[in-house]
């Protein structure tokens, strides 16, 4: 694949290899990620796109028997360095999971969780952050009267937006989204997609999706993964209209996958 020369990179991945035990899950990935863009990753199940995403905030390190080599530069610093401060990294690189996973606590406490563990104690300051984060995800009007109600009482779509708010509350630079709408109905999905569109003004977003229309709708760049390899990475409009690699074409036209 070809790499363009780019300057506004927030992540720069070079020759990334990852093994789960004997399984070579990521093979020599070169992947620059631009600031304040939405980068979508598509590919069949098990192609490594989620694994790649979880390497960007090193969530992979929680798994036993994982081995990572190469270089993942965040803001110029290689995060694969053994001394990397995971707390600091994850403050800057937030993550939203496949299924909304609020803590069994109140709506307020969920959003305030991140700021609190990072040392913010003042109630007025926390109130401000929580309000802002909930407004950013367009959940404020729906929940402002019941901030102390349990978060698990919200609908699936609301829970997912709450989790995005929770991630935003730590003021990250990058938001990683692992199939954030795969468990949602079409209307909730649409809301999240609109949200992604607004959020990219302020955040860099990397999203894994199984839904190619979604990738086409929300992203600036699209990457196609296959069997642990990055096959193609280019402008979304390019990849969907004239993919360079025949395997990409086969996949997006539905010939396999």
């Amino acid at each position: 694949m070809s790499i363009q020369t780019l300057t506004r990179e927030i992540f720069d991945v070079k020759d990334l290899n990852l093994w789960y035990g004997d399984h070579h899950a990521l093979k020599g990935i070169y992947f620059p990620i631009q600031k304040k863009e939405v980068t979508a990753m598509i590919g069949p199940s098990g192609c490594g796109k989620s694994t790649f995403l979880k390497t960007l905030n090193l969530m992979n390190k929680m798994i036993a028997n994982v081995k990572i080599t190469g270089e993942v530069k965040f803001d110029g610093q290689n995060i694969l360095h053994p001394k990397t401060d995971l707390v600091e990294l994850r403050k800057h690189v937030g993550m939203v999971f496949q299924k909304g996973n609020p803590f069994p606590q109140s709506i307020y406490d969920n959003v305030a969780y991140g700021p609190r563990i990072h040392g913010i104690k003042k109630k007025t300051h926390l109130d401000e952050i929580v309000t802002k984060a909930l407004m950013d995800v367009a959940l404020w009007d729906e929940v402002k009267d019941r901030l102390t109600a349990p978060a698990l009482g919200l609908s699936g779509g609301q829970q997912q937006r709450l989790c995005i708010a929770r991630a935003l509350a730590t003021k990250p630079d990058v938001l990683l989204m692992d199939e954030p709408t795969s468990a949602l109905d079409p209307i909730s999905t649409l809301k999240i997609e609109e949200l992604i569109f607004e959020l990219k003004e302020k955040y860099t977003i990397v999203i894994v999706t199984h839904n190619m229309q979604q990738a086409a709708r929300v992203s600036d760049k699209t990457a196609f993964f296959l069997m642990g390899e990055l096959i193609e990475l280019s402008e979304t409009s390019t990849i969907f209209s004239m993919p360079k690699d025949s395997r990409t074409e086969d996949y997006i036209t539905g010939r396999f996958g």
Partner: protein, 309 residues
């Protein structure tokens, strides 16, 4: 197969008296019988204990209030018998709460160690230890307490050695496996996405445990403690061997004391069935039963709260 398909739908679909249905009925009857036996045994015991336990008040005319609130226990005094069991009620509650106070942090700490800190080797070591603790019979716990703990306390803390403290420590070790096992199940049944969600926000392991996992498991952890307390409340033999069994209200943790269960086991052998003294033992048994119902209700309440979350 083909022949069956050729039969008209009516013959195939409507129930006939086949042997399959007989087997179905027989199975249903067997499990129904098992359930019925269990239920009737429990009801029978409750009724028996209820009528027997109330006899000291209805037949022997002991004042119910005096029974529960007096600290004087002297049923054998012919001239002026006294039937106050407050010291024993107090003793039961004291050893129960104190032992839970020791065992709960230890058990929950052990559970967190096994599930969160060292799930591989920690569990490999602690699990068999806990199982071993369950397997030791209570008379052995009492025996060890009597031989090791009682002299140790006598020499280092003072008093007779036979004391509330000895009973508390022996009970704490006995209920430790109960608390640890249930707390471990509670922690390991927490969905992994809670951990992931917390780590992804930059939380450390300790923050994740303290602010997400323990609060999420709290109702189950409380259930673990209450089940441990229920066991402590009902334990008789081991406590009896180390607590000293005196009828007076203890004034310090180093004083000898007695519990409802120890008084029952001590006295049931030398009282005659139907005598006043024997009846008061039944009344104490009734108190134990009522307490265990209370423990069950508390656990029910907690688990209903757990479902709501």
């Amino acid at each position: 197969m083909m022949e069956k398909l050729l039969l008209p739908a009516k013959d195939r679909l409507l129930k006939s008296k086949s042997s399959r249905l007989d087997g179905e009925f027989r199975g249903k009857l067997i499990v129904l019988l098992c359930a019925a036996i269990m239920i009737s045994a429990t009801i029978a015991i409750t009724i028996f204990l209820g009528t027997k336990g109330l006899q000291s008040f209805t037949k022997n005319g002991i004042s119910f209030i005096e029974f529960l609130t007096s600290t004087k226990w002297n049923p054998t005094d012919k001239a002026n018998p006294a039937y106050g069991v407050l010291p024993f009620i107090f003793g039961s509650f004291a050893v129960t709460f104190l032992s839970a106070l020791i065992a709960a942090p230890l058990g929950i700490g052990g559970a967190i160690f096994m599930t969160e800190i060292a799930p591989s080797w920690g569990r490999k070591i602690l699990q068999p230890v806990v199982e071993l603790l369950v397997g030791i019979p209570s008379v052995v716990y009492g025996f060890i307490g009597l031989t090791v703990l009682v002299p140790f306390i006598r020499e280092h803390a003072g008093g007779l050695g036979f004391s509330l403290l000895s009973g508390t420590i022996v009970l704490a070790i006995m209920i430790l496996p109960t608390i640890t096992t249930i707390a471990t199940d509670a922690m390991s049944s927490l969905p992994n996405h809670l951990r992931e969600g917390s780590y992804a926000l930059g939380a450390t392991r300790w923050q994740t445990i303290r602010k997400v996992l323990v609060p999420a498991a709290l109702p189950s952890l409380l259930t673990a403690i209450i089940l441990g307390m229920a066991r402590a409340f009902g334990e008789a033999l081991a406590v009896q061997m180390v607590i000293g069994n005196v009828r007076d209200m203890p004034s310090s943790i180093l004083d000898a004391s007695a519990t409802l269960t120890t008084i029952i086991t001590l006295n049931m052998g030398h009282t005659t069935y139907g005598s006043v003294e024997n009846n008061t033992l039944w009344s104490m048994g009734l108190i134990l039963l009522i307490m265990s119902f209370a423990f069950i209700l508390l656990i029910r309440y907690l688990s209903s709260r757990r479902k709501l979350r």
